[in-house]
Subunit: 456 residues, 2 copies
């Protein structure tokens, strides 16, 4: 890396931190309509900072839901074009009572910055903006052409950005996309993510009696909406985590022997993982598959939440009329989300208990995908990452979903570099989400170095 960039980052650490904190104070919870103005405010903040970094044609693009932000700098003729992507919306912070410090009051503690969105994705997204600022400030120009596209709906399905990408392939034309919204395999270990799972996210609603009934008077004869939902859900997955919905595994491909072998080289201590990351009495999952295979290369079904009947203090003896569960299936590459939705609908229809009615509502869906690790941009990114962190870059997959990567592949025909600086214990989507402060600054260094190397 150039010493000039290194020095620039070092000299500006304090300001970079204050600016990120200001962004983190905005509760841009995209799933909550009452926070729509906050999400908009986060977009405006990004506009200001992109302008300050010297980006041009900075636009706040209104949509039917949350705004998009676009910017570019296209004065490097003959050089490749990088499409930078990030999101400024965050997950809801509940359960609030489990946060040690408030989710929207960013707090430094033990080398980490605690706040909702610190790692996912404001901290990482903002690293890209700061890397561009550093290059512009130090050299007066960028080493490659850059387009920036930020969204505020990533946590709620990203419909607007997907539509925008589909409708503006010329405007967004680039050689490669660069997304910093993933994690490093371990602290200090440079990591490129070359595989993502897809997702079908659904609500399943169960209706039994017309109203809540007295369980003494009707218990034994009336259907129970909560129990009906419990019966249905229990049939969707066995005790080992194997999904029982017919057809779910039809298009699942096993990872190559080579890829599996590389995973076996990754440092991994199952006992530590159980104790410090999961924190349960034991792991679960399909027998015969490693934790990597279970979380990266196998579809999984989870119930994210369930509600129905009386759950206040004390005892209320009702047979509930209604219940709802949030359920998702993570998909691996080659699985078709539409086909999975059909399989779920057929399963629900075939397994709806007597006396109960079920409705399936699909909230979002997107496929899983892989990028080719031999692609030039990926190789440059791997080297840049190694240079800054001083270790060989590893190639892994993630069990999570980043639908935009699929859109870039589908509508722009470009691969995506998933160069992320999160850590496994960052607590994404959980209380006390944090971002490693060292990774924030070294992330800026790494991204700037990648732009320089890619422009050579």
């Amino acid at each position: 890396m150039s010493e000039a960039i290194d020095r620039y980052v070092t000299n500006n650490e304090k300001r970079f931190m204050e600016e990120l904190k200001e962004l983190l104070r905005i509760p841009s919870i995209s799933t909550s309509p009452e926070h729509n103005a906050d999400t908009h405010r986060a977009a405006e903040y990004c506009v200001t900072k992109l302008q300050a970094a010297g980006l041009e044609n900075v636009e706040l693009i209104e949509t039917e839901r949350h705004p998009l932000v676009y910017a570019d700098w296209l004065h490097a003729p003959g050089k490749p074009t990088v499409l930078c992507y990030g999101h400024f919306d965050v997950q809801p912070p509940d359960p609030l009572e489990l946060w040690e410090t408030p989710p929207f009051e960013p707090t430094e503690r033990n080398g980490n910055l605690y706040a909702r969105g610190s790692a996912d994705d404001k901290g990482q997204m903002y690293s890209q903006i700061k890397a561009l600022e550093a290059l512009r400030d130090v050299y007066g120009k960028l080493p490659v052409n850059v387009k920036v596209l930020l969204e505020g709906e990533e946590e709620v399905g990203g419909i607007s950005v997907a539509e925008y990408v589909e409708k503006n392939p010329e405007k967004l034309k680039a050689d490669v996309a660069l997304v910093s919204d993933t994690e490093m395999y371990a602290a200090g270990l440079p990591t490129l993510n070359i595989g993502l799972r897809g997702l079908v996210y659904m609500e399943i609603e169960s209706r039994g009696p017309a109203r809540d009934l007295h369980s003494g008077l009707y218990g034994g004869a009336a259907p129970n909406a909560v129990f009906g939902l419990v019966e249905l859900l229990s049939k969707a997955k066995d005790a080992d985590g194997h999904i029982l919905i017919p057809g779910i595994y039809d298009d699942v491909e096993a990872p190559s022997a080579e890829e599996k072998a590389s995973w076996e080289q990754l440092p991994f201590d199952e006992t530590e993982y159980l104790k410090h990351e999961v924190g349960a009495t034991s792991l679960t999952g399909e027998p015969g598959y490693s934790v990597f295979e279970r979380t990266w290369a196998r579809p999984t079904l989870e119930v994210h939440g369930i509600a129905g009947g009386f759950v206040g203090n004390g005892a209320k003896t009702v047979i509930p009329a209604k219940a709802v569960a949030k359920v998702s299936i993570r998909l691996v590459p080659k699985q078709d989300p539409a086909k999975i939705v059909e399989a779920v609908r057929a399963f629900v229809a075939a397994n709806t208990p007597k006396g109960v009615q079920m409705e399936v509502r699909v909230l979002s869906s997107g496929p899983g995908l892989m990028v080719n690790p031999d692609h030039h941009a990926i190789q440059v990114a791997a080297k840049a990452f190694s240079d800054i962190f001083g270790k060989e870059t590893v190639f892994i997959r993630s069990g999570g979903s980043i639908p935009i990567v699929g859109d870039f592949a589908k509508y722009l025909g470009i691969p995506t570099i998933l160069m992320g600086f999160g850590l496994p214990d960052d607590g994404l989507h959980s209380p006390n989400e944090k971002y490693c402060i060292r990774n924030y600054f070294d992330g800026i260094r790494t991204l700037a170095h990648f732009f320089e190397e890619y422009g050579k």
Copy 2:
């Protein structure tokens, strides 16, 4: 019935209605600590009205939770003593949005009085007070000795009244107890309830990972507290409603052939019951048993409510750390609640899914029981009921639980007359609970007539 009493009730209908409405306006929700003052206020209201009715030794008895109310009138030497019981607390009104008129603004509509507690049990309890008032006013005395014991914890397990009965058998000594907290089999059909189910009410809490986890990153390897609870609950009962917990049916006795035959004489239209009472697509329950057997003479298991994970708007992709369900088992006579609790604990221990921890908390429990229909007081009550309503009294059971009846049997050695004026469509514990206004006034007439007849 004496014409004087009939006239007295007729002349005072308007005032009786206003007084009941005043009581119904007090949101004495015993399960909600924030309503403790209201529950106390309901007790004070009863004290005032018992005094006004000419009862003596009227006491408001403070307890560790909600107060009791005691009163007596013991100037009928040689006559039997009746222990009148009722409760002035009510169930929570939620879901509030389903009420057509607010639960604590009693509203007359189509011959009914709509309010939380109108039927269960304020309206019925207040009928007893008004019957005593009518007799005192018309005759200057009561035809029998009377003790009144009212409580404010019936909907939360009735611990205080149970302790009070246990500790004060001399004070409460009586020949028979009279409880108006049940329903008539059908509108206009005088009904005495001679069997009640017992209840074991529990909370089952499930804990998986130490915190909510990202379902993409950990899905496939981490246990899910909601799914663990779903798995456990699904094993507790089969699709037909048969409980699968070992030992549950050990002490269950079938009703006598005679009793079953009498049930077959009751007017019952399963289609109407399904359509107008249950309002589901079909009934459920154990094959080979009639609806009466299923709801009156068989133990049943219900999940009253369930909560865990994210259930807000939109999509949040967590693996929940915690989930809780409210679960009860209704018991028939001869089943021992303590034995049932042990069976549930053993079942939960044996069926806790891998990686999940379960805790069972018992919130309340009490046995089911039967009273002898040939008892003199029951026979007098049956005749009094028939006299006022002009039809033969039928003897039924109820699937509900009134724990105090067991306490009266156990500690005072007396049977209980379950003479209730509710109707099957009153919506106990549900939104839009109502009490038939005609039954309110005829209930007062019936109770007064019973006291007169029992004093002969």
